[in-house]
């Protein structure tokens, strides 16, 4: 007898309801309610996010979600940003494009981070997806302007092309001319990473002029200041603008043209670029400053007085990126002018200098924490810190979600008490209950990890360098941080014990990176053998790890969960430990 399903809706109704559910987490929850919901949901999932391209294979994704329109993929581990991952490690997107070309002819959006993208991949994208709209290549590499030309020419409905922070082989500025005259659909264009060679400026101007919906335009360094006024007059509807070089000869007409051009942009909320700034031209911005919510001055080598003048006009500022030329005095001014500030990033102007070249200390951050009640996200490079300052900051800003402090000299103690900074960071995790991301620095013992394990229950990503005394430190984190997804560690005395004792935890995380620690090759082998849903990869550029005794520490270890088994594209310097204990390569 067939079961009567009371209270059940036709599939179409459920599908319609599900279409309002956008977040991945919610979609995943929906899909495990029952078999029929699983089926309905998978057929109507349009957007997929894959945080580690090796956690699953393209075929598996396509099999489960046959009607995807938008995909986001991340490749290399985060420490690749700092040259800790050798070239050739992996993260190739071509296999994915190859599979999707056949399976998703209606794919509209591809967003990639830290992946290797070739011209071949770009050409395949241009050829395969008739309604392709959005291409975001964040910190990618491996392609040239030839590939971009293919995208420009082939994607008739392109609305977004964003190359932020990617490394592009700049063969010719003429790729821009490949956008057909019929292309009027651009909404966002970010070419700020392109080299200093000439970009075909007339092609750029024509493109900007015929795209009435252009909202975001970020130019590259090759575009000089005198050209900007023209561009802005062609696109006064811009919301986000990245200047090129903010420099040119001092001529009176340039300043007045620029001022007029900026003031005609009534929607402008976000500014960036500012390479090589001539301070005399900064007043051109004053008319838009009060509307600005985001300002990126992190390439601008202007000094504190000029920064203060600019920033004190920006009463609506929510996000500021700046060099440490702002100094403590500038941060004080920021604290009194920008009460809506949510995110602050201060980068070092002389990161490899032994002595400080500017007066930026813990005091600056304390001022901002006091004056900006909405502060949520901080990235701060400095040369000295105290526990007292960190405690004050924590008490002032219990709403921190991201806190990244980089004291430039490794193992720097509290400069007043000469003690480790355990208590200071402990205060951060204790007071900031919503903290999702934390980066540590300075002199730290196992105690700080005890605090983190005890209090940082919402912490998802932790970055550790030159810290801790023993395996106990690592154990505190792995056993205490319930929400931990990504853990990256370098140069810490953490070894086998903590790792093996918490092996099961690793399956609940996206990935673990450990380099220059004391994890032995034997432990890696054991981990790979026991944990079948983990890929345990050892990176060693000097010699195979098995040529040394098992007790020898490995140089770099990358462990991540995966349902597609060991990867098949490993270069010679990466070894994976598989189930049988053999070392694949």
């Amino acid at each position: 007898m067939q079961k009567k399903r009371a209270y059940s809706f036709p599939d179409e109704v459920l599908e319609h309801v599900f279409s309002f559910i956008q977040s991945d987490k919610d979609r995943n929850a929906v899909s495990v309610v029952c078999k029929s919901w699983y089926e309905i949901e998978r057929w109507c999932r349009r957007k997929v996010f894959i945080g580690n391209c090796y956690a699953v294979s393209p075929k598996m994704v396509i099999k489960r979600f046959p009607e995807v329109r938008s995909i986001e993929l991340k490749g290399k581990p985060h420490f690749a940003d700092f040259n800790l991952v050798p070239d050739g490690w992996g993260g190739y997107v071509l296999p994915w494009i190859g599979e999707m070309a056949g399976a998703y002819p209606w794919l509209e959006e591809i967003r990639l981070k830290r992946m290797v993208v070739t011209d071949e991949s770009l050409e395949l994208i241009a050829k395969s997806f008739k309604n392709f709209k959005v291409l975001v290549l964040f910190s990618c590499e491996g392609f040239s302007t030839d590939g971009l030309a293919a995208i420009a020419a082939g994607c008739k409905n392109l609305s977004e092309l964003d190359l932020r922070e990617s490394e592009v082989d700049d063969l010719s500025g003429h790729w821009l001319t490949h956008f057909p005259e019929t292309c009027t659909s651009l909404v966002s264009l970010n070419i700020s990473c392109l080299g200093s060679d000439e970009v075909s400026f007339s092609a750029l101007e024509r493109l900007v002029g015929r795209c009435p919906n252009l909202r975001s335009l970020r130019l590259n360094r090759a575009v000089s200041l005198d050209k900007i006024a023209n561009i802005l007059c062609l696109a006064p509807q811009l919301v986000d603008f990245g200047t090129g070089n903010y420099t040119t000869e001092l001529r009176p007409d340039v300043l007045s043209n620029l001022t007029a051009a900026f003031s005609s942009c009534k929607e402008l909320k976000s500014l960036s670029g500012f390479w090589d700034v001539v301070p005399a031209y900064l007043p051109a911005l004053y008319s838009v400053c009060s509307r600005l919510t985001s300002l990126n001055l992190s390439y601008a080598t202007i000094h504190s007085p000029e920064i203060i003048k600019l920033v004190s006009h920006c009463s609506s500022l929510q996000c500021l990126l700046v060099l440490d030329y702002i100094e403590d005095s500038g941060l004080e001014a920021l604290a009194s002018s920008c009460k809506d500030l949510q995110e602050l990033r201060v980068f070092p102007s002389d990161p490899f200098g032994v002595e400080p070249n500017v007066s930026l200390t813990e005091k600056g951050l304390v001022s901002v924490s006091l004056g900006c009640p909405k502060l949520q996200s901080v990235l701060y490079f400095c040369r000295r810190m105290t526990n007292a300052a960190l405690v004050t900051i924590a008490q002032n800003c219990p709403n921190f979600t991201h806190f990244r402090l980089c004291i430039i000299e490794p193992k720097t103690a509290d400069y007043m008490t000469l003690e480790p900074l355990d208590v200071g960071f402990g205060a951060i995790v204790e007071h900031c209950k919503d903290l999702r991301r934390l980066s540590l620095s300075g002199l730290l013992t196992d105690r700080v990890f005890e605090y983190i394990g005890t209090y940082a229950k919402k912490l998802e990503m932790l970055s550790v360098a030159f810290a801790g005394d023993s395996d106990l430190g690592l154990h505190h984190v792995l056993s205490g941080c319930e929400s931990l997804r990504k853990l990256e560690i370098r140069d810490c005395p953490f070894g086998d014990k903590a790792l093996l004792a918490n092996a099961a935890k690793l399956e609940t995380m996206r990935s673990l990176w450990m380099s220059s620690c004391t994890v032995s090759f034997g432990a890696c082998k054991l981990l790979g053998q026991k944990m079948h849903r983990l890929n345990v990869e050892v990176i060693d550029e000097t010699e195979p790890p098995c040529s040394r005794p098992k007790s020898c520490p490995v140089d770099k270890l990358y462990v991540y969960r995966s349902i597609s088994g060991p990867r098949s594209d490993m270069p010679p310097f990466v070894w994976t430990m598989d189930e049988e204990g053999t070392i694949l390569h």
Partner: protein
């Protein structure tokens, strides 16, 4: 006698500089060791013992070794007796060559954690520093704007040396205004309002002159470094 410079640093706790300094293997042949840079490349294991040394012990050993290596001590053209005496403990040492050269070779890989493309921009800017400072090598103007020329600025009575890009200024007035603002916070400590300051500069020949006598364009072609001195007259 080559021009050398005696540079004063901020009152950072010297242990933070010495911590990475392996006293068992002093290897002071290379000036770059003085900053503990080479020691930084050793694995973390080496550090953990050293961090427990006391400040005095560490500093005492450091000083003792330094005395034997006069190559590393560099003198400015105008030693100021007062300052030297007060700032004994705050000295750091640098070589005559741009210390950045040595540092780029010896720094710890991937530290500080700055993205590669940002590092490239720093390096480009440092190159401009170097070219500006090594006396006779003045940078020619480029057509679409001139390269930066960074000069060091010292103010009498202030420990920290600043650097400014004099290409950003158009006149003595704008330069002085900016310098006043930069150094204003240091004035309040020792001096009262009646203290006047004079801007002096060292020219290509090594002579210290009062700024303002020659046309601005000639000045920026000639200036090597700046010093703001008290005018007691």
């Amino acid at each position: 006698m080559p021009n050398m410079e005696f540079q004063l640093g901020l009152a950072l706790p010297t242990p933070s500089i010495i911590k990475g300094f392996d006293l068992n293997n002093l290897g002071l042949d290379h000036p770059k060791d003085m900053g503990g840079l080479e020691a930084r490349n050793k694995p973390a294991r080496c550090f953990s013992d050293k961090s427990k040394r006391s400040f005095e012990q560490a500093f005492g050993n450091f000083e003792a070794e330094c005395k034997t290596k006069t190559l590393l001590l560099l003198w400015s053209g105008q030693p100021n007796e007062e300052e030297d005496h007060n700032d004994q403990k705050k000295r750091t040492f640098s070589t005559i060559d741009d210390r950045n050269d040595a540092e780029e070779v010896d720094q710890v890989v991937g530290w500080p954690p700055i993205k590669t493309w940002r590092k490239k921009i720093f390096q480009q800017q440092q190159q401009q520093h170097r070219v500006g400072r090594i006396g006779n090598n003045r940078v020619a103007d480029k057509e679409n704007g001139s390269r930066s020329i960074y000069v060091k600025v010292k103010m009498e009575g202030v420990a920290i040396t600043r650097k400014v890009d004099i290409r950003l200024y158009r006149s003595y007035q704008t330069l002085t205004n900016s310098l006043i603002t930069l150094f204003a916070k240091y004035k309040k400590c020792a001096d009262d309002d009646y203290t006047r300051y004079i801007l002096t500069y060292q020219d290509k020949e090594g002579d210290w002159l009062i700024a303002g006598d020659i046309p601005w364009q000639s000045f920026i072609r000639s200036v090597q470094r700046l010093k703001i001195v008290r005018n007691w007259g």
